[in-house]
């Protein structure tokens, strides 16, 4: 089983997403939530990097946090799975451990 990496900060504010993408092993999963959902948005200066990382990592984003920030699901980068808190719980059980990039 792989690790579930979580990022809760915007890539514009912190380098948590960058470091996560640098060190998450191929085959792991990344969940973007809280302000981290910004990293899941299309047309940002980080979108290309995230799209590239999707070649070896599975990406998830927390739907409620997207809505809270007035962003639509249609803004999410293609291929990133939109989940809810139930899905968040499932992700943790489907992975060996959780690494929170704080």
């Amino acid at each position: 089983m792989a690790i579930l990496h979580t990022v809760n900060k915007s890539p514009f504010e912190r380098n948590a997403l960058g470091s996560c993408l640098r060190l998450a092993k191929k085959g792991s999963s990344v969940l973007l939530f809280e302000d981290g959902v910004i990293g899941a948005m299309q047309n940002t200066k980080y979108s290309g990097k995230v799209a590239q990382a999707m070649e070896h990592l599975s990406f998830y984003v927390l739907g409620p946090d997207i809505k809270a920030r007035g962003l639509g699901d249609d803004r999410v980068i293609n291929g990133i799975n939109i989940i809810d808190y139930d899905g968040f719980v499932d992700l943790t059980t489907e992975h060996n451990a959780v690494q929170s990039w704080l």
Partner: protein
């Protein structure tokens, strides 16, 4: 010795923040010291600004805060033998292993020989180390 029913998990403490600007470096170290009593398989990882926690020669007199950097050198006494420092984080900050404290432990399986416990590791190796952990604590 604490009784965990003999369960031994790989515990990893990930440090990404510089010391003193916030309390995370100090309070994460406090967890590591307490955890020593639980006989788990402990690794410490320092990435990004976390590498600054290990610099030599910290002098906090001018900022009026307690200098806790000597605690890192004592980690060997708490059976912490694996301290991993991310090479890229050092390099992009213009630092090298020479800027960091020397951390050692005494190997009870080798006649108490003194050995290095701090390892500068490259991205792929660090990625593999993290991926193998059972419990990851971040601060």
């Amino acid at each position: 010795m604490e009784d965990g029913d003999g369960v031994v998990k790989k515990f990893c403490y990930i440090n990404r923040k510089a010391p003193y600007g916030t309390i995370y470096a100090l309070e994460s170290l406090e967890v590591v010291l307490i955890a020593a009593a639980f006989d788990q398989d402990i690794s410490l990882v320092f990435v990004d600004d976390g590498v600054y926690q290990l610099t030599q020669g910290q002098d906090t007199a001018g900022i009026g805060m307690k200098n806790f950097s000597r605690t890192y050198a004592a980690l060997g006494d708490y059976d912490v033998k694996k301290v991993y420092v991310d090479r890229e984080s050092l390099e992009e900050r213009g630092l090298s292993i020479d800027d960091l404290q020397t951390l050692k432990y005494e190997d009870e399986d080798d006649d108490w020989a003194e050995k290095d416990s701090l390892f500068v590791v490259a991205r792929d190796e660090l990625s593999t180390i993290i991926d193998a952990q059972d419990v990851i604590l971040s601060f």
